[in-house]
Every structure is written in structure tokens, then in C-alpha cells.
Amino acid sequence: LDQLRAERDRLRHEEDAVSFVRRLAQGRIDLVEAVRHRKSSGESTSVADIIRSGVGPAPSTGSARPPRDTDVAADHPLVTEFDQLCDRLGFDEMSELDVPGLDRLHDGLVAFEAVQSSRRRDLFERIDALTAELVRRYRDGDASVDSLL
């Protein structure tokens, strides 16, 4: 039972980092799309609008899941890897990039996000399978919360 929990915790810690960097990537993809649109359409979008596209739409409420911490492992290797990717693609010099450069930046970020989302999906499968096993043990009386408390 302890092993089960330990394994699940390990996976969830990994998933925390993946989900965090995934959200960062999604935000930056949406930022690049906003900037690219501004460039091509000639529309004058304010910085506030650009920022809002990085933040994304109003998030949905009413989750069935327990509250998740927002404590982030900001020095996690994944985050460093992502920052370096952004740097290589010229994310912070976006305004200087020409359209092909913006496209390269966009595609690079999308590829990275896709990898993270797929890892996240895989982690959920494994975490949820372990949880199902945990549920079984509790239901069959092989586990009790006393050991938790």
C-alpha cells in the first residue's frame, strides 16, 4: 500500500511539472499567435490585449477534482529546457522577428506543447489506474485512512 502511494505521489509530482510547463507553453503559443495576427492583419492590438491572449480565456469552474497546489518547481529541468527553447526560437525578441521567424517560433512551441500534453495524458492514465487500485483496496477494507492520519 505504501509502495502504491509512493509510486502515485512520484507520478503526481512529475505531472505537476509537466502540467505547469504545458500551461506556460500554451500561453506563449497564444501570445505568438496574437502577435503574428497583429503583424499580418495590421490591426492595432494593445499590449493589454497581447497580455490577455497569453493568459487565455476565463478558466472554467466546478471541477470534480480536489484542489491542486500552485506551488511550482520553478527550477525544474523541464522549465529550464522550455526557457532555453524559447530563447533559441527568439520568443523574447518576437517584435523583431519576420513572419517566417514567427512561424518557426510558433511551430517550435506547438511541437513542445504537444509532447508535454501527450506525456501528461500518459501520466494521468497511470495515476488514475493507481487511484483505481487504491479505491479497490479501500472498498475491500484492505486500506484504512487511519494509516494516513
Partner: protein, 243 residues
């Protein structure tokens, strides 16, 4: 830090160059996406999260304005609690808990603590409903309505009756951590005192991180029943901890 961001911090901190400030805010804006997503997930349907985005962005700007790169912290570590704090402050401002829900919650809490003192034990649903002059079914409806948001760890949820983040300290001192730990250990003791069902739900939800549905299949009850038991547990803990 990448060279570009390092440059931006220098220009902002040393020269108050507003263009660099913009670069930083744009660069880190996805942090608000992350925090707002997780906070919103814990809110009941119907809360307008559009506003929360705005307050989150102000929290980010505030963090950019206050951050001191020389202290050696990563900006993300510094900013995320501030963004969350701003969002929770924004939540309080829009008074997102309907008044009737607040009232009902208080009434139940009062009944629970009165009965607890009289009976010297945790009261049953029947006893609580009796004290409130309603049927047990009605009590369960009230508990469903009162199933307020879980926007953080249990200790924050309970000790204030309102979702609240500890004020972000510019240097995460040991005192704050200690205070946190004390609250937690008191909480643990009280959780152990809860009646069997309430204790199980709390442990499975916050410690095992199970969803309400998963807890339902452990206890052999519906998800909404679990939600009611959870509300009751939170109210019981609140009445004990504020006694």
C-alpha cells in the same frame, strides 16, 4: 535566466525602462493562466472568472514591480503566490458566496457547536436537522448548497471560513512556515476527532487526492452525498477550530 530576460530585468530594475517592464509582463503572463486555471477549478459553477483574470494580471504586475533579482529567488517562485493572493482577494471583493449560502453555513455551524457542547460528542445529521427545525433531507440539500469552493489546502479553507492565501512575504521567513505547520497539526488532531464518515472523506479527498466520485465508490454512495459529507466535515472543523 536567458540573456534576453536577464537584460530586461536589468533595464527595468536599474533604469526603470518601461519597455522592458512590458517584455517581462508579457513573458510571464502564462503564469496567470496556470494559477487562474487551478484556482478556478476549485470554484463552484457560476462564478465569473473573467474578473479573476484581471486581478491575476495585476498580481503579476505587482510582482514584477517588487521583484529583486539580486535576492536569488526565481521570479516564478516569487510571483505565483502573489498572483494567487491577488486572485483570492479579488474573489472576496466580488463576494462570490451567495448570502443565503453564507447564512445556511453559519446556521449549521451554530447548531453543530451548540449540540457538540451539549452532547460532548459530534452530533448526528438527525440531531443537527432537529436543532434547525428541518428534515434530514433538507439538511442534506443545505449541505449541498453550502459545498463552497475548495480553493486551497484544507487549513486555509477552514481557519477563515473564507478562501484566503497567507499574505505573500517578501522573504519566506521561518515564522510563516511555522505558523502554517501549527495550523496543520491542530487541524490533524481535529480531523482525527471527526466521526468516521467525515474523517474518511476528508482524508481521502485532501490526503489521497481522490475525486468526489472516487470517494463515492469507496463508500458506496453518490458523488453528491460525498459532497454533503465533505461540507459537514468542513463546518465541523470550523466550529471546533474557532471555538
Amino acid at each position: 535566466d536567458t540573456p534576453a530576460i536577464h537584460r530586461a530585468w536589468q533595464r527595468w530594475v536599474d533604469d526603470k525602462d518601461s519597455a522592458s517592464r512590458e517584455v517581462l509582463i508579457v513573458h510571464y503572463s502564462p503564469l496567470v493562466k496556470f494559477v487562474a486555471g487551478r484556482v478556478a477549478a476549485g470554484l463552484p459553477a457560476g462564478v465569473d472568472t473573467g474578473e479573476l483574470i484581471g486581478t491575476g494580471i495585476f498580481g503579476l504586475m505587482d510582482a514584477v514591480d517588487r521583484f529583486d533579482p539580486s535576492r536569488g529567488f526565481k521570479f516564478e517562485t516569487f510571483a505565483v503566490p502573489r498572483i494567487k493572493g491577488a486572485i483570492l482577494d479579488g474573489l472576496r471583493a466580488i463576494d462570490w458566496v451567495p448570502r443565503t449560502v453564507r447564512q445556511r453555513s453559519r446556521q449549521i455551524e451554530q447548531a453543530v457547536s451548540e449540540l457538540g457542547n451539549e452532547l460532548k460528542r459530534a452530533p448526528s445529521d438527525e440531531e443537527i436537522a432537529g436543532r434547525l427545525g428541518i428534515s434530514e433531507d433538507e439538511l442534506h440539500d443545505w449541505l449541498s448548497a453550502v459545498a463552497v469552493a475548495n480553493v486551497g489546502p484544507l487549513d486555509h479553507l477552514v481557519t477563515d471560513g473564507e478562501p484566503r492565501q497567507l499574505p505573500p512575504s517578501t522573504d519566506a521567513g521561518p515564522d510563516r512556515v511555522l505558523e502554517d505547520r501549527e495550523v496543520r497539526s491542530v487541524m490533524r488532531a481535529e480531523i482525527r476527532q471527526l466521526p468516521d464518515r467525515e474523517r474518511t472523506v476528508v482524508a481521502l479527498y485532501y490526503d489521497e487526492g481522490m475525486t468526489l466520485a472516487e470517494i463515492g465508490s469507496v463508500l458506496g454512495v453518490t458523488e453528491s452525498r460525498v459532497s454533503q459529507i465533505h461540507s459537514k466535515a468542513v463546518i465541523m472543523l470550523r466550529s471546533r477550530l474557532t471555538a
